[in-house]
Structure formats: structure tokens, C-alpha cells
Symmetry: C2
């Protein structure tokens, strides 16, 4: 029974995404991508165009999935400070799970591609802005529900959380030990008190 085309495309994109996320753009070979997706070269190219177009579609899928997860966690029904801490502690836990890809695809592409590719730089900047906006809303909610101190502007604290998150992603990618990451989250969260 043939599966609907849309489902197949989503599945193929997800598999290609893991290859790019894990290996980086340059190091992801056509052989890697064909092996992961189970497609032939001709059907891959017929569906997605070239490697760059496949990458852009995979990166788009990554950002949508990660943003959905971030929004869900930041609005999980806990007081805002606790929602934010849950998001960071889960990130640390994920970084220790050897069945997962290490780090964050957006941080990876910020480092690998953004300096030399204006399109990727724009997509990375949009994603960082969207993460920062989500943190800003959560912090404003926390200042309203009393779980976060009102000493500092939400936007300034959101800048700090965004940058800290990227630092944790670099550390996760380098397989840093857990204590360093947990300590960092503890210090970061104390800034909200």
C-alpha cells in the first residue's frame, strides 16, 4: 500500500535533518543522506532539488519542531520561573542521552554556515529572535505571577537566557560533563530571583 506523498516527505526530511544536525552541512555526504533516507539519488533530487535545498527544508523542519517544544515547555502550566528551569534542565538531560544528536542545529549552523552564507545567517537570526521572544514572554509572565523578580527588563533577561542556551549547546556538542551544565543552569536561574 502506497503511503501518502506528504507523509513520506516529512519522514525523509526528518531523516535528512538528523544527518545534517549530527554531522554538519559540509561533512554530510550524499552517501550519508541516501543511506539515512533510503532514497535513490534521482528521487532525492527530484523531490528536494540539490543538497542545499534539502538542507534548507531540513533546517526549517528542525526550527519548527524545536520552537513547538520550547513553546509547550514554557507554557506547561507551571509558574514561569519553573517552566524556564524545566526547559533548561531537560536540555541538560538530553545532552547526556547518547541516543540523541548532541547540541542544537541552529547553534551548529550559526557556527558553521552563518558567517559565510547570508541566507543561513538570516534564518539563524530569525530563529534566535523567536527563541528570545518566547523567553521574553515567559519572563513577563513570571514577573506577573511573582515567580521572577521585576528588577530587570524581560528583554534584557531574555538576551541573557538566549546566549546562555547557546553556550550550553556548544558544551553539549563537546560532550562536556554534566556538573558544568547543571551548575550553569543553577547560576542562570538565580539571576531570575
Amino acid at each position: 500500500m502506497a503511503r501518502p506523498q506528504e507523509f513520506e516527505t516529512t519522514e525523509v526530511l526528518r531523516k535528512a535533518m538528523y544527518v545534517f544536525w549530527s554531522k554538519g552541512y559540509e561533512a554530510a555526504s550524499l552517501t550519508d543522506i541516501l543511506a539515512a533516507t533510503g532514497l535513490s539519488k534521482s528521487s532525492l533530487y527530484a523531490t528536494f532539488g540539490d543538497k542545499r535545498e534539502l538542507f534548507l527544508a531540513a533546517f526549517d523542519a528542525y526550527r519548527k519542531g524545536r520552537m513547538q517544544y520550547l513553546q509547550q515547555t514554557l507554557n506547561n502550566g507551571q509558574p514561569a520561573r519553573q517552566s524556564i528551569e524545566t526547559f533548561f534542565r531537560q536540555g541538560v538531560a538530553h545532552s547526556q542521552d547518547k541516543t540523541r544528536v548532541y547540541g542544537c542545529m541552529t547553534a551548529n549552523e550559526a557556527v558553521e554556515l552563518a558567517p559565510h552564507d547570508a541566507d543561513i545567517q538570516r534564518l539563524v537570526a530569525e530563529d534566535f529572535q523567536a527563541i528570545e521572544d518566547a523567553f521574553t514572554r515567559a519572563i513577563a509572565r513570571g514577573q506577573a505571577d511573582g515567580s521572577i523578580s521585576s528588577r530587570q527588563e524581560p528583554r534584557i533577561l531574555a538576551h541573557f537566557l538566549l546566549v546562555g542556551l547557546q553556550g550550553l549547546q556548544v558544551m553539549a556538542r563537546a560532550k562536556s560533563d554534566r556538573a558544568r551544565l547543571e551548575d550553569t543552569v543553577t547560576v542562570m536561574m538565580a539571576v531570575l530571583d
Copy 2:
């Protein structure tokens, strides 16, 4: 007049380092490296071995230079809190200087190579440890000279500064705007009060 071999090697390494730092390991082509160093393929290989060996030597040169700069700045005669802030504010200023390579080579290699290359993972981990140790000493000095609060262990604060530094490097690499970086440094420094 022939220059001493040692000087030439240092110069060639410095030029190769900028290519790898700027482009990343995979994207740095032999053509790029030959153009930057002015060497022929045969003399490059005779002196340094293959691309990976040249990279390892260039990465070593980067880490030595960056560590020297870090140590000098953290011991610049100011109270420790101010020395640490000088280091971070200079980093932000450098990230806005278009004549410089964006970001930090160690953060780049943490992201690009560490997950798949045990040798690089070890070198990155050693470098992160050395940065963390330098921060720990500076924080202990600040707790002694009264410029840094003694509420928190130096090592825990050093974990936080190390991770924050890597986040700033990702942002610099992605050409993030300066306000985000300056705000982050302001919030980070307040943690030391």
C-alpha cells in the same frame, strides 16, 4: 636573505589558522590554504603532513595565543571583577570588528568536529578546562580582593562564565547585534556582585 625556518613555519601556521578558524575544517579547501600561505602543495605537505596534521598544528597555535591573551587580561592589574569584565567587553568589541575572524576557534571545533573526532574532543575539553581554571583563579582573587561576592564557590561561577563565553562566541559567529551581547555581559557580571 633567507629567513629562519622557524619564523616561516610560525607565519604559515598563523595564516592556515585564520583559514580554518574562519571557514571551518571541512569547508577549508586545499586551494584556500595554499592561497593563504603562499606555499606549494608539495612544500605544505613536506612541512606539515596532511590537512588534518596542519589543522592540529594551527589549532594548537590558536589555543596558545588565546590562552596567553586570556591570562594577560585576567591579570592586567585591575581588581579581578574588572579584569573579567574587561575580557568579556573586549570580546564583544572584537565581535563587531569586521577585520577580525568571527567567534572562537575552539567553540567552532567543539561544534563541527568534537562530536565525531575523539582527538579533537579531547583538545577542546582541555582548552575548556584551561579557560575554566583561569576563571576560577581570577574569581578566587576577586573574592580575596573584595571585588567579587563570596556567596558562591569560584568553580561554580567559573562553570557559568565558561558556558556564557561559548554562548557569546556562537552569537558573534552569527553576527548578532551588539545590544544582545552587551546586555548578556552586564547580567553575567552582576552575578559576581
